[in-house]
């Protein structure tokens, strides 16, 4: 191209061109060379495929652009495999948050070096100088109470200085060794959430801690994103449709999950379904973003959703089961739900009837194997009870008949009777609990029953679950003594008119939507879907809300059907390559079991929130329950620990290494002998469970690692309690301790402050978790390392790849923890030489024979002599395992022998021999002398990623086929055909980097998927008759555990949200309002990530905000953007008001996980820095969530356990007239 002088170019502007368009337009002859300016801007040197390891379910594939060695920006990949010719594609997945990530790379928030608070570092250096030995120096530091309190009090107050990696590695390793020696490895904790978002990074720390004997804390349940209803009714943690399956739906109710805001990359499928003719109904208390897409909006009052669902159930039962029998629905519920199963009707002392437990084979044929775990139906053919196969008892009886074919053990077909109407021996009045009145009361409802004599001679009455459901919901079937009920009956619970007063939603809308939802399901064979999430799940009674909603999809035959069923979207995660990941992440290749702790339970005690418990469990009981069954939630948790229901760490008031040593010293030779001695010591009180004395110093958690997380800024419910009690810094809890105290737990008068010796934060950006930490370590970002990411929103496995090598002193998490392991092992050769024995107290596990531990759902406490203490049966397992600390590093970086023996997940085990050979072949073997030599090497993050992919069915067709074959043996079904066509596919990092691949369907998950089929949960169960992992093997309406019945929650019903009194500031004359405080996920961050960057702060209001209605704002003279102070007994936060009429009166929205690090001034109420959204929350444990050892009520990590829900919270708000910063 010809270049011209600048003068000539300037002159060209004076030159005239040709005129056209009636002289209106001039054609210019000027040079356009300058256009190269923007072309140059668009140039780059390379594009790298990576993704964002943030705690979200996006798992989007991105192009990261690099120019001159600098990461410049990112845009989305568009090369996903096709969903088929007539289906929308996944491209381009992403959101504005992810698109703003590149800012962090070179930002002033970036953590570039290791940091330690100066006071602590100086003390450490001084002691090391004196003692020379780091372990001795650490011990001296922690046993100087004044010095310890001094640096603890400085937490969160700045004062960091740089240190070298070598120095901090030594410090931390010394701390670990001293803690193991002084207190035990179960005083060392790790918190990192959602492995699916970056599995290798999660595994880095969890593998290290698991090898140590440290404890990994759960998160999904603590976040309250776990829907407890899911394990309750399905025995499944969470399994949901991929977003493309929304497009298959004919009728979509969006109910409390803000798809555009929190499922941004997926929302288009909802919109496109709508354009394709799907009707969309939005149910939300505010005009949420998803309401924009709805055809109809229903706005129930916050927390009353179950009332709405119960009224819809009433309509569906009446119109599709009573007025007209809908063949598709009947066929479905008979085969796939517990509705035809028989429940014993118990007679109470005063003669009234209530519902009891399931009628079991044990009642009829006690000699049958696992007879307590094989419930009965009423069989039309034999006109009597029959035991169908497929229930939990068959899973573990070795019969190979665990399937949903409607037949009995002998292969005789069954025809279950759904209802006994017309053939009952009598119709009795049964009392059903009712909680929507001022005080709990009962509804007396007519139920048809059969009378029968049991094998032991007892006479009982039985009813079907279906008849109980009908009676509970109050649908009249003209039974004798039953009054007619109309939809307009305001006083009849669960009618459309009844719910109006509770929800504020008009009855006509409820009737219409229920009718349309079911009619659509009938026409489309189940393509009616409900998307649900935080708005309906983050409540104390979440399980009751969800069970009421799930009733709608069960009754319409929509679950396990493409385009139908539940679609739960909040915090759900899906490690698609689960088998491989969990094996490596918890070091099961070397040692089993790892210590995995229920997070809610841990934090409830560790941050002393239990001392502030205000919710008396007695108020939650069914009116007919024995008041003695009400326990303080802390007592319920202690019970759960004793009975093996829930894990509980620290375990004992003694070092678990010492416990074994003491037994050995006392002559115990076998593991059994050690166990017996431990039981004896527990009985005589010389050894105690730590849970009984959480505030005793010997039971404190001592060291905590936080990585890939911002616990304090995002998920720590009751964050002021965390800061004050766990960390010993300036946390501002405004209320007093509660007079409501536990009985079985020792509570010293003075609450301890500063339990943790060391809080270590690993991150690439400074958050409040880093601010309050003692040591901050620089992490590589997601554009600087190898890792894997998956989600349940789409079927792909995405790789992380380094676009640049980690700058400054940053390291990938795998390197960070490997380096710690290396230093630890070096010090251990001196301080912990040889092999130590550790005793791990482990809970009764789901998907193992332990789920049959405690029959009939009865609660029997061995410490009260109600039953013999038997480890793994009536109490936790007591497992003795070796710890080879000097070789821990070798174990960390190589894959151990246990994988070769066999591995798997969710009760499916395969031989590991072929897999182990593949690992060696693909990864290479370790040449390091010692136990790792010749074993597959995982010393680098890309090797770990590949190991996960090799070991998992989702990414390796051979594994998938092996797993289906394993399940075939238990079920007697033909299953391997599901994966056989893809047997020879295996995706390693390089393949996934070339292009995303569709993952392979394996039995780790319940949905079928292939090129032409979108993932929908439980389609394996429905299409192939694999049972759900529940007591009956079916989807449960009825939950018969004694505690569920005592709390009145055997059947779905409505429980109102909990309103506790709200703290007011003494002597304050300011105008205040008391409002419900909702904390949904926000638009400008994924939790606190992104929320702090200039893109996101600029795109809204840059700092903490709370949304109020104009009416509420006016009451306290607040205008838009005014500062407000939001507080209650739990703490205080500062925010600015956003006033909009899209918010209902009486509720405010403080979108979750803004953080106290950006733009937060001092709060007038405390004179100290304002808190965050969690300053006003506190964990409240629901006692029914601790049940264990009973079928689907059996523990698994992040799977089952108390949730940390936070929506049953109210706050007081006043205008903040003065803003101060220092």
């Amino acid at each position: 191209m010809e270049r011209r002088s600048p003068m000539k170019r300037a002159g060209a502007y004076l030159k005239k061109g040709r005129f056209l368009n009636q002289g209106w337009t001039e054609e210019s002859p000027r040079s356009r060379e300058w256009e190269d300016l923007y072309r140059g801007r668009w140039e780059f040197d390379k594009v790298v495929r990576s993704t964002h390891g943030v705690n979200c379910t996006g798992s989007c594939s991105w192009k990261v652009y690099v120019k001159n060695g600098i990461i410049t920006w990112e845009t989305q990949q568009t090369d996903y495999p096709s969903m088929g010719p007539d289906f929308p594609e996944y491209e381009p997945r992403g959101c504005p948050r992810g698109a703003s990530f590149s800012w962090y790379e070179y930002s002033p928030l970036r953590i570039k070096y290791p940091y330690v608070r100066q006071t602590l570092l100086e003390k450490w250096r001084a002691l090391l100088n004196v003692h020379k030995d780091p372990v001795v120096a650490y011990h001296a530091l922690m046993h100087d109470p004044e010095a310890r309190r001094e640096y603890q009090r400085q937490r969160g107050k700045g004062g960091f200085v740089r240190a070298s990696w070598d120095e901090v590695e030594t410090f931390i390793a010394a701390g670990l060794i001293d803690t193991i020696k002084t207190y035990g490895p179960d005083r060392i904790f790790g918190f990192t959430p959602i492995p699916a978002m970056s599995m290798v990074s999660y595994a880095a720390g969890s593998r290290f801690l698991s090898l140590l004997g440290g404890v990994m804390l759960s998160f999904y349940d603590h976040y309250a994103d776990l829907p407890p209803a899911s394990p309750e009714v399905w025995g499944e943690q969470t399994d949901v449709p991929e977003s493309a399956d929304w497009y298959n739906s004919g009728y979509l109710i969006i109910w409390g999950t803000n798809l555009p805001m929190t499922r941004t990359p997926d929302a288009h499928y909802m919109v496109e379904a709508r354009l394709n003719g799907t009707k969309v109904v939005g149910i939300s208390p505010d005009y949420a973003e998803y309401v924009k897409f709805a055809d109809l909006w229903m706005a129930p009052r916050p927390g009353t959703d179950a009332a709405l669902a119960m009224a819809m159930t009433h309509v569906i039962l009446k119109e599709f089961y009573v007025d007209r029998q809908t063949p598709y629905f009947l066929e479905y519920v008979k085969q796939y739900t517990d509705l035809p199963f028989l429940v014993r009707i118990d007679r109470r002392p005063l003669g009234e009837y209530v519902t009891g437990r399931f009628l079991e084979a044990a009642d009829l044929e006690p000699d049958v194997k696992n007879a307590a775990w094989k419930p009965a139906m009423w069989d039309k053919r034999r006109n009597g009870p029959a035991i169908p196969i497929g229930s939990m008892g068959f899973r573990w009886d070795g019969s190979g008949k665990w399937n949903l074919n409607l037949e009995d053990d002998g292969g005789t077909p069954l025809e279950p009777e759904l209802s006994l109407v017309g053939q009952a021996d009598e119709v009795v009045s049964v009392n059903f609990p009712y909680f929507a009145s001022e005080r709990p009361t009962v509804l007396s409802r007519r139920v048809p029953v059969k009378r029968m004599r049991l094998a032991d001679g007892e006479d009982v009455r039985v009813a079907t679950v279906f008849d109980l459901l009908m009676a509970n919901v109050g649908v009249s079937r003209n039974l004798e003594g039953e009054p007619p009920v109309s939809y307009d009956d305001v006083d009849a619970p669960y009618t459309p008119a009844w719910q109006e007063a509770i929800t504020g939603v008009g009855r006509d809308a409820v009737i219409a939507v229920a009718r349309e939802f079911a009619a659509n399901a009938e026409k489309t064979r189940g393509r009616s879907m409900i998307a649900m999430g935080a708005g309906t799940n983050h409540w104390y009674h979440s399980d009751m809300i969800y069970r009421a909603m799930l009733t709608l999809v069960f009754l319409t035959g929509s679950e396990g059907v493409n385009g139908g069923g539940w679609a739960h979207y909040v915090g759900q995660e899906k490690v698609r390559p689960l088998e491989g990941w969990s094996g490596l992440a918890f070091a099961r290749d070397w040692i089993k079991p790892a210590r995995l702790q229920q997070g809610t339970m841990f934090f409830y005690f560790a941050s002393d929130q239990f001392r502030f418990e205000e919710l008396d469990s007695a108020k939650l009981l069914a009116p007919f329950a024995d008041p003695a069954e009400a326990q303080h939630p802390a007592d319920a948790l202690a019970l759960a620990a004793r009975l093996g229901w829930m894990p509980s760490y620290p375990q004992f008031n003694e070092n678990p290494l010492q416990v074994v040593q003491t037994a050995r010293d006392g002559g115990a030779e076998s593991h059994e002998a050690i166990q017996s001695q431990v039981i004896e010591r527990l009985k005589d009180g010389s050894l105690k469970l730590a849970v009984h004395e959480p505030d005793a110093p010997e039971n404190f958690p001592r060291i905590m690692f936080i990585w890939r997380a911002n616990l304090l800024g995002a998920s720590a419910k009751g964050s002021e309690y965390f800061i004050k009690y766990l960390l010993g810094a300036d946390g501002h809890v405004l209320g007093d301790e509660s007079p409501y105290r536990p009985k079985d737990i020792e509570v010293p008068d003075e609450a301890p402050e500063g339990k943790l010796d060391l809080w270590i934060d690993v991150d690439f950006r400074m958050t409040s978790s880093g601010l309050y930490a003692d040591i901050v370590l620089p992490a590589a970002t997601w554009y600087e390392k190898y890792d894997l990411s998956t989600t349940d929103m789409h079927p792909f496995i995405h790789p992380f790849n380094p676009a640049i090598t980690p700058p400054w002193k940053a390291r990938p998490d795998w390197d960070t923890f490997s380096a710690l392991a290396h230093k630890f092992s070096l010090l251990a050769t001196t301080h912990l030489p040889g092999v130590h024995e550790d005793l791990v107290m482990a809970p009764l596990l789901h998907d193992s024979p332990e789920e049959l531990a405690q029959p009939f759902g009865e609660v029997k406490d061995w410490t009260r002599g109600e039953v013999e203490p038997v480890p793994g049966k009536t109490m936790p397992k007591l497992v003795i395992i070796p710890r080879d600390y000097p070789h821990l590093y070798d174990q960390m970086i190589s894959i151990g022998p246990q994988i070769e023996v066999g591995f798997g997940t969710k009760g499916i085990t395969i031989s590991g021999e072929p897999a182990y050979a593949e690992l060696k072949h693909n990864l290479g073997v370790s040449t390091h002398e010692g136990p790792s030599k010749g074993r597959p090497s995982i010393s680098r993050d890309n090797q770990v990623a590949n190991a996960i992919l090799i070991l998992s069915g989702a990414s390796n067709g051979r594994r998938a086929v092996e797993e289906w074959e394993s399940l075939e043996k238990v079920t007697g079904l033909h299953l391997k055909e599901i994966a056989l066509p893809r047997k020879d596919e295996m995706f390693l990092l390089d393949e996934l980097t070339a292009q995303p691949r569709l993952s392979i369907a394996g039995p780790a998950w319940s949905g079928l998927e292939s090129e032409g089929r979108r993932y929908s949960p439980f389609t394996v169960n429905v299409d192939y008759h694999v049972p759900w992992r529940t007591l009956t093997g079916r989807q449960h309406f009825y939950l018969d555990h004694a505690m569920m019945r005592s709390f009145g929650e055997a059947l779905p019903l409505y429980r109102p949200p909990i309103d506790l009194p709200v703290y007011s500031l003494p002597e304050s004359q300011d105008k205040t309002i008391v409002v419900r405080y909702l904390t949904p996920h926000q638009k400008w961050g994924i939790h606190t990530t992104y929320w702090d960057n200039p893109r996101m702060t600029t795109l809204f209001r840059g700092g903490q905000t709370v949304w109020l209605s104009p009416g509420d704002a006016a009451q306290i003279d607040v205008d838009d953007n005014d500062w407000i102070e939001v507080f209650n007994q739990n703490g205080v936060t500062m925010a600015r008001a956003v006033v909009s009429h899209r918010i209902p009166e009486g509720a405010v929205f403080m979108y979750h996980a803004q953080d106290r690090t950006v733009g937060v001034p001092l709060a007038p109420a405390t004179g100290d820095r304002g808190g965050n959204h969690n300053s006003a929350t506190r964990t409240m444990v629901k006692p029914t969530h601790v049940i264990g050892g009973y079928a689907q009520f059996s523990y698994d990590f992040n799977y089952w356990g108390p949730t940390g829900h936070q929506r049953d919270t109210r706050v007081r708000i006043r205008k903040a007239r003065e803003v101060k910063w220092q």
Partner: protein, 496 residues
């Protein structure tokens, strides 16, 4: 006939999830530098709302675009003479506060604060003055998701004549998003406003650009654009604007905002128009006639006469083929479901919008199904008043809005009938004037929306360049060679 080709865009507002990914990827790519902090070539506005800059639609305030004066098309800001008078003071310019004062935070304090009484915090700081603030007071998306709200709705120019019957109450809340880029108008007032002649509309693809060599920073394009989509870079002292990502378009790639749009709502394609009819079309008397008059400027790419004229005008067969496959031809011309934004500005904008269907205010009379008689009453029950959409897209003509929404609604009814085997009376199709097959094709384009169907972009036509061999070999090193003729030398080009 003077055939020109333009690469244009349609955005389907029903599909916009309001996520702002487009804004962020655009900003990172183009305006992530000093002097452009406040500049968003692409932004997304919540409507009702005031937009960015505030009240940009209020042309009484900014006097952008064109008007008819004595039946003749003139810049609303006045003829060139009046511009000269104001060349050092332009009262129509938006001030910084009309956009917003950009800000950042004292992030460094989080890592580097000394031990303090209170927890360190990153305080907001003005990017202009460097001073600490207690809080930002306005931003480019300050009213996101407010649905107007008590104070902001009153400032929305599209609501001004509707205030009486629209109440800002919880029960009647309505909301939509409006993503915006430069309109790359057929009759661009920014180009006409520039005293330096630095703005131009590219002949080959219609993209409107500010020549960075020619710009003298007068900023009359800023006030002259009624959409407020040219901006002033206070570091380079030049105007900048959305370039329609021409470096990508030339390569056959969609714009960054389009490719990264997770709502998949943007369509890009070629339209042929008659450049000789632009003035006439922009000069019709009745503002409501501007939409049909702009439609009349577009040419049918299948018409033999048009094809011949296009070839004569140097438009390649590949571009004619692209015009025939253009998704925009279907959406704008054939099905007429996309509409221009504020046609009354008379700039003949080239980024068009399909209006959204919003939730019903109350229950649809017969529940799930809608008969032909109910289709228009149903539209009148939608939360977003048709008058509001008409103020945005048709200069107030509600009949056009109802017709468009009727087609979109009928498309959903028809597609639903395929899922549930419900029968739809034939009269419905007659009522909206589309066949079943057309509705299915439209549903495919809007819902299935494959990448190759959303974006039909021919690569830049370089056939006219005589130096392609040279270009192929040249690289940045060539630019250090002395200017031709300055030093006598043997040129590579001399060989030809």
């Amino acid at each position: 006939m003077n055939v020109k080709a333009q690469v244009a865009m349609v955005m389907h507002l029903d599909k916009c999830v309001g996520c702002h990914t487009c804004s962020v990827t655009c900003k990172n790519t183009w305006t992530n530098r000093p002097g452009t902090e406040y500049i968003w070539f692409n932004d997304v506005e919540t409507k009702p709302g005031v937009g960015y800059p505030k009240k940009w639609e209020d042309q009484e305030r900014y006097r952008g675009g064109w008007t008819l004066r004595h039946g003749r098309l003139t810049l609303k800001a006045g003829p060139p003479a009046s511009k000269l008078a104001h060349i050092f003071y332009n009262p129509d310019l938006p001030a910084l506060d009309d956009y917003y004062e950009p800000w950042t935070y004292d992030y460094d304090s989080l890592l580097h604060s000394p031990l303090s009484e209170h927890q360190p915090v990153a305080r907001p700081i003005s990017s202009i003055t460097g001073e600490y603030w207690d809080a930002p007071q306005w931003g480019p998306n300050w009213d996101d998701d407010l649905a107007g709200g008590p104070t902001i709705a009153a400032q929305d120019p599209d609501l001004t004549h509707l205030q009486e019957h629209i109440k800002m109450e919880f029960e009647s809340t309505f909301m939509m998003y409006l993503p915006r880029i430069c309109e790359h108008c057929l009759n661009p007032s920014c180009v006409a406003s520039c005293p330096s002649g630095a703005l131009y509309k590219r002949d080959e693809d219609g993209i409107v650009l500010v020549d960075q060599d020619g710009c003298r920073g007068w900023r009359f394009c800023v006030s002259g654009c009624p959409y407020k989509k040219t901006y002033f870079n206070w570091n380079t002292f030049k105007a900048e604007k959305c370039t329609f990502c021409y470096p990508r378009i030339e390569a056959g790639l969609p714009t960054v905002c389009s490719e990264t749009c997770v709502g998949r709502l943007r369509f890009i394609g070629v339209l042929l128009y008659d450049a000789d009819r632009v003035k006439e079309a922009a000069s019709v008397n009745d503002e409501k006639a501007l939409y049909p008059s702009q439609l009349s400027v577009f040419l049918d790419p299948y018409d033999a006469e048009v094809i011949e004229a296009a070839r004569a005008a140097g438009i390649s067969d590949a571009w004619i083929d692209a015009a025939q496959r253009s998704p925009l031809y279907n959406l704008i011309i054939r099905w007429q479901v996309a509409l221009p934004l504020h046609p009354e500005y008379r700039t003949l904008p080239m980024v068009w919008y399909i209006p959204p269907l919003s939730p019903m205010v109350s229950l649809i009379p017969h529940g799930d199904t809608v008969g032909p008689e109910e289709i228009f009453p149903t539209i009148d029950q939608m939360r977003i008043p048709v008058e509001y959409l008409a103020n945005l897209l048709t200069a107030g003509d509600t009949s056009v809005i109802r017709k468009v929404l009727g087609k979109l609604w009928a498309m959903r009814v028809h597609m639903r009938s395929l899922k549930t085997d419900e029968s739809v009376p034939e009269r419905l199709y007659q009522e909206i004037g589309m066949t079943k097959e057309e509705l299915e094709r439209m549903a495919r384009l809007l819902a299935v929306a494959k990448y190759q169907e959303r974006y039909v972009i021919p690569t830049a036509n370089r056939n006219a360049d005589p130096d392609l061999v040279y270009e192929q070999g040249a690289c940045s090193l060539e630019s250090i060679a002395p200017i031709k003729g300055f030093i006598p030398s043997i040129s590579f080009n001399d060989s030809k």
